[in-house]
Symmetry: C2
DNA sequence: TGCAGTCGTTTACGCCGTAAACGGCAGGGC
DNA sequence: GCCCTGCCGTTTACGGCGTAAACGACTGCA
């Protein structure tokens, strides 16, 4: 049975919780294996998914990774689905984490372009740090269902729209920019983490003898065969930057045209 | 929770192989219970997912939607995972289906731009026809794991690369274009079907009285509140066309620059 | 001392994917 | 006619899943 996980206590207080119980923790841990709480469970779930994949996450296994029976989790989490929602929220939350010397803080930006670049890099950092979790981030329905592109965090959408407004975008242009930006980010990052997953799952099954792999017949696919090495290359980072730059150019063009003409700015 | 009506006959074992329909069946589907085969099973799975969602698809329920026990399916399909792979293949296959007067055939194109536009529209048609299936299309690992952006169909990738080559792209430029195009398509369509799913799942749960919905407090999100109606609007089709056009422009620019300079064309 | 709360465990239920054994029907050689 | 052999759907069974409900053990306060 695994020992208690180390669990760095990065502590983001949830104001919703009235601290009904604040015991003398100083007496602290003698031999207690548990000392469960919601944050600890969510973090354990994230770690578990990172290591074993989403499909492997069951309540029983997550429980036992915490040294506890499955049913113990239900005191802190309503059920498996809500657990996954919590995982998504916690992962996205790290967008606002302080990063020592990094350029990631998405508050304290200068200009909307800077904001969009930081946000994109922050999201990409999350995606690469938790490739197996990221599909959850984009596939779960958003907190407010009427927000069409579901980035799930209302706080995030709010700050996005606010920043663009400050940058001179009309409401319509800001919303259009939000959607274009979301779909760009979603496409690139999902592709990237899917590739990572594919690589990993390859290493999973090196069964059979080395030679006899069922090498699909490539003679029907000459272009594929010829470019095989190119297709296998990983240019994700560069392509990400290039596409991001292209998107920013496009938005900037729209914004200036709108300013000069003062006309309708809904379209991108 | 929609209950699937069990149709196990009460007491008498049905003596006929052909399993005579007992006339007034329980208002069920028009399922011929006889004559299972792999294609029939895959189509039933697609229909099932379209109607009930991916999560609801179980071997037992799929079997009973075909008037058959779950284990019967295993004679034609190795297991649930392979069933899902088959579903993806079958759905993507419809890209090549003849469409009466439509512009969808992705063979018989004129020029690579035309090809990319047709392919995009074809994929979008698939996504919108089967919004609940589409996430499978992009999330399952590709047939050849070394093809980085996993569109799953080698045939598709092959024809893509071939067409761009004919259009004057170098191998590197074609591969770069393939990736840019994939991530654009993936992002846009996944966003779109997620939205559709979100709407549907909204209609699922009109529980509680009409007024008392737990309307999250919007006072903290002024920009969201103000643009609520804009965010709710559906401009997917127009945005799709605009982004597609932008991508084509970008590719064309790259191609011409490469031609005129004759230099390295790997970058986009 | 007792009492009430908190928290993890035990037990149980129905559903899941699927391995394995089973049985009824078809057709073909005798 | 017979039996043999495949085919094909059913039955049975097993371990694992999410989770409802009952059950202790422990803790702090009256």
């Amino acid at each position: 049975m695994p020992t208690i996980s180390e669990q760095t206590s990065d502590d983001v207080r949830d104001p919703d919780l009235v601290a009904v119980q604040e015991g003398p923790e100083a007496a602290g841990e003698l031999t207690r294996p548990a000392g469960l709480d919601r944050e600890k469970i969510l973090q354990a779930a994230i770690d578990f998914i990172d290591e074993q994949g989403l499909a492997a996450l069951t309540m029983r296994r997550l429980g036992s990774s915490l040294g506890v029976e499955a049913m113990a989790l239900y005191r802190y989490v309503p059920g498996r689905e809500d657990l996954l929602d919590g995982v998504v929220d916690r992962v996205v939350e790290t967008l606002w984490d302080d990063r020592d010397g990094d350029d990631i803080h998405i508050v304290d930006h200068s200009g909307w372009q800077d904001y969009l670049v930081r946000l994109a890099h922050g999201m990409r950092r999350i995606a690469l740090a938790h490739p197996a979790v990221f599909p959850l981030v984009v596939s779960r329905p958003p907190a407010a269902p009427w927000v069409r592109p579901p980035l799930r965090s209302l706080r995030l959408v709010e700050s996005f729209l606010g920043t663009l407004r400050e940058g001179g975008f009309s409401d319509q242009a800001a919303v259009a920019a939000y959607r274009a930006y979301s779909s760009f980010l979603l496409g690139h990052l999902l592709l990237e983490v899917t590739q990572i997953g594919a690589q990993v799952s390859l290493l999973d099954q090196p069964e059979g003898d080395e030679q006899a792999q069922q090498e699909t017949d490539m003679s029907e696919y000459p272009n594929l065969a010829r470019t095989e090495s190119l297709l296998g290359q990983d240019r994700s980072a560069a392509e990400f930057e290039e596409s991001l730059e292209n998107l920013l150019d496009r938005l900037e063009r729209v914004l200036h045209e709108a300013r000069n003409s003062g006309g309708d700015v809904g379209d991108l």
